[in-house]
Subunit: 311 residues, 2 copies
Amino acid sequence: MDVDSRLLRSFAAVAEEGNLTRAAERLYVSQPALTKQIKQLEQLLGVRLFTRSRAGMALTGPGRALAARTPDVLAAVDTAVRETRSAGRAEARVLRVGFLASAANEATQDIVADFGRRRPGLRVELRQAAWSNPTAGLADGEVDAALLRLPFPGQDTYRVEVLLTEERVAVLPSTHALAGRARLDFRELWDEPFIAAPPTTGPFCDYWLAVEARPADRPVKIGAVTDQPDEWLSAIANGYGVALAPASAARFYARPGVSYVPVDGVAPTSVGVAWAPADDENPVVRDFVRSCLRAVGEGPAGPTGSPTTGP
Amino acid sequence: MDVDSRLLRSFAAVAEEGNLTRAAERLYVSQPALTKQIKQLEQLLGVRLFTRSRAGMALTGPGRALAARTPDVLAAVDTAVRETRSAGRAEARVLRVGFLASAANEATQDIVADFGRRRPGLRVELRQAAWSNPTAGLADGEVDAALLRLPFPGQDTYRVEVLLTEERVAVLPSTHALAGRARLDFRELWDEPFIAAPPTTGPFCDYWLAVEARPADRPVKIGAVTDQPDEWLSAIANGYGVALAPASAARFYARPGVSYVPVDGVAPTSVGVAWAPADDENPVVRDFVRSCLRAVGEGPAGPTGSPTTGP
DNA sequence: CGACATCCATGCCGTCAGGTTATGGATGCA
DNA sequence: TGCATCCATAACCTGACGGCATGGATGTCG
């Protein structure tokens, strides 16, 4: 009689995709396994959830009823997990902060330093996330706050403060014909293969391919897919393709074989600090956000900068 | 990363009992199994949920956070299951009605007949529940409506219409000294062993032992525990004890070896129809409730009876 | 009309999660 | 000191569940 939330996640995936095979690969299980899970759920509920057909899996009436309720259930589970983990960290006097590679770059140190002055008893644990985890652990309660490039998937369900905005630059193999240029236009890169983030990251992936700055008849060519900064830099250095990056990457990820060139024709990129609405009243998280705003308000140069107005 | 709702149910039981051993028997699993489940949940969440001690299991801070959220999660799961099953029955053109043995008795046939006239296309499936299932399947979505003796556990979370009220009578072995009496007082039964419902039914069990009509220094003696009408009648006929029953039981459960005698000094008993709040707008359930009220309004004798005032 | 592609179901098998029983260690209590 | 209580651990066993390979149904296209 006990409906496992794992079955509900599978159900939700199949309901959304309308297709077992695709849902299976989205969930990283085999298609027969998913067939069995759905069967099991149907038997557990005593109800037929899908009508199987050549075209795929279509929801029945009861299936729609369940699909309508599933988000509530999964959200309740996620909330419970998130709050429990957060309470655990609070008890251990730890604030865990997730960040995506090259999110806050040099600002990060200033933020942590400022927070350390505000909350001497607390330890900040920084967690670097792969690009395939675009909320850097915020979604599953692994972290209390995250430093992210904006926009990120699910942004509307979190609180976000924008911290800073910077140009995007092109990252090229040093052997590339354009690598010596002082500046270039994004149009010159239309036909280059790009090093992309995993396609599961959706808008994030598209954003760093700048698909919006391309004509429809010049689709992006993918030279390689990487999930980590070092993979990414290696792929570029090896000539598999080029990429866009925030300007600060030139300072943080300088290495032999890779060149950074300012580029016109793509919008700048912003970094924000994000947290869960449930932590709105959490004084530690609030202090961390204050530290973020303060640190970037002071400017990246640190103590020599003059204080500016923070909210 | 996936928190199974079964683990949450286990967690909730341990949190409530504050004791692994007792929680284990409440959940019908062994104590080591529960130990492992709690350990697993703690590992999954990366948090210590209980402080173990000689005295039992006490919640930690994160444990309290989880305990605060668990009811939401379980309620969401139960709602989802209930609504899905209900949708399945609606699609199959079936209204499933649970009833406890001797709940509505003769009224039941009138109700079903009336409903059949209102909704010719629908089939009513009657499900008799054991006493150990005091909501007759309403709680787990097995049925759309239930005919129950009032009060029942969890009554506040459902909609209830009272249908009829009747005297309670004593049920005695025919060989019993009091069996020939035209009438007796409940005090005369204080020292008799009673045939009880399973103790897990709590208030329901107490109600039919009429513990409220007894002095504190005369605790009830239990002669046997039964979960079904036939077990119950057999136990009485075999002289294991006596019992209370609604007056209509004398007509519905008359059999050799069992005598029914009106009894003074215990409150009468009511029957109600109950349904889930989620079905408030469900036209089929509403019609069924109307049929219930109509049928008892007409009186149990059927078309010859004169209309009486319903609740 | 037949080869093919797509999509879901089934059979078989190996692994491991999760249950049970039996037992151990810690700790109050008589 | 022996006992009772309570949780943890060990050893073992069953079966749930996932993966692979394959089958059946059904559109599609050359």
